[in-house]
């Protein structure tokens, strides 16, 4: 809790203003802040904002400050968007780099042993595909049996 005597520096005033905008101040502190703002010689964005809110600036000055703040906000938004864009481009480049599609690779690791003989690797692929083929044939056969059963049922 701050009263008028306790606000002797710009930092203390700005701290109080921050608490005011966060809705953390009580009536006594707000009164003290009003009085200090009315007479203080200090200048900063926070103090100017508080003065605007308290009605110590003219409408023209308020508009000017709003425009200035809007411009600053736009700059910050632009900066944030640029950072996000750079991160996205960087991440995409990294992701592309990690994709092995562009390199000539033909390698297998079997029980921790690397095999880089092309023929051996292709034979392992053939094994994989044969197993997959057998399973898919099984499914096709099932479908065929089902189809035949339906046909018989319809006759």
């Amino acid at each position: 809790m701050k009263d008028l005597e306790q606000i002797t520096t710009q930092a203390q005033l700005e701290q109080l203003i921050e608490r005011y905008f966060d809705g953390m101040t009580n009536l006594q502190e707000e009164n003290a802040m009003r009085q200090v703002l009315a007479h203080c010689p200090w200048q900063s964005d926070a103090i100017d904002d508080a003065k605007v809110v308290m009605g110590y600036f003219s409408a023209h000055s308020k508009q000017h400050r709003h425009a200035t703040r809007r411009a600053a906000r736009l700059r910050m938004t632009g900066l944030a968007a640029s950072i996000a864009m750079l991160l996205a481009v960087g991440a995409y480049a990294l992701w592309q780099h990690q994709q092995p599609a562009g390199q000539d690779l033909c390698i297998a690791y079997v029980n921790g042993q690397a095999i880089d003989n092309d023929e051996e690797v292709m034979r392992l692929i053939e094994d994989d595909l044969n197993h997959i083929n057998a399973a898919s044939q099984g499914m096709a056969a099932q479908l065929s049996t089902l189809g035949e059963a339906l046909e018989l049922d319809n006759e």
């Binding site: 906000r73 910050m76 938004t77 900066l79 944030a80 968007a81 950072i83 996000a84 991160l87 996205a88 991440a91 995409y92 992701w95 994709q99 092995p100 599609a101 562009g102 390199q103 000539d104 690779l105 033909c106 390698i107 297998a108 690791y109 079997v110 029980n111 921790g112 690397a114 092309d118 690797v121 292709m122 392992l124 692929i125 994989d128 595909l129 197993h131 997959i132 083929n133 399973a135 898919s136 099984g138 499914m139 099932q142």
Partner: protein
């Protein structure tokens, strides 16, 4: 300042979400963990050799470890939910065979095959196989490739 932080965080979140959508869940299995694992086979073929079989990328895993097999199945099922075309067969509540077509972009497709040979009726084997293929070939060409 708070507003700027929120904007940056929102942009970052959007970027990360976009990145996550680019990748498949099974990609995390291809981080090299199986290269030195006993009871596992990992095959990577890209470039010239892959082009010879009509692909850009061929990447497969065969594992015997039950825990890893379950992980593979769960990741395949997750990716399969986003497939534009799929052929699947479940046995005893488990995925036995899966062939998923995942659209990548206008030119390339990626395909996922899954086979749990534990569930085979004829001579079951303690092996779960995952194959990832990438290339311009359509699903008919891919099927022809496996029938060769």
């Amino acid at each position: 300042m708070k507003r700027t932080t929120i904007i940056i965080l929102t942009c970052l979140l959007a970027t990360m979400t976009a990145m996550a959508q680019n990748g498949l869940n099974i990609n995390r299995l291809f981080d090299g963990r199986f290269k030195k694992a006993a009871g596992a086979t990992e095959i990577i073929v890209t470039g010239r050799q892959a082009h010879e079989i009509g692909l850009d990328v061929y990447h497969s895993l065969s594992v015997t470890d039950k825990g890893q097999a379950e992980l593979i199945e769960s990741l395949v099922v997750k990716d399969g939910a986003k497939a534009i075309d799929k052929e699947v067969e479940y046995r005893n509540g488990q995925l036995y065979y899966g062939f998923y077509t995942m659209k990548k972009n206008k030119r390339d497709n990626h395909y996922i095959f899954f086979l749990n040979q534990n569930l085979a009726r004829k001579s079951p084997k303690n092996v779960v196989t995952l194959i990832y293929m990438e290339g311009s070939a359509n699903s008919e060409k891919i099927k022809k490739l496996i029938r060769k």
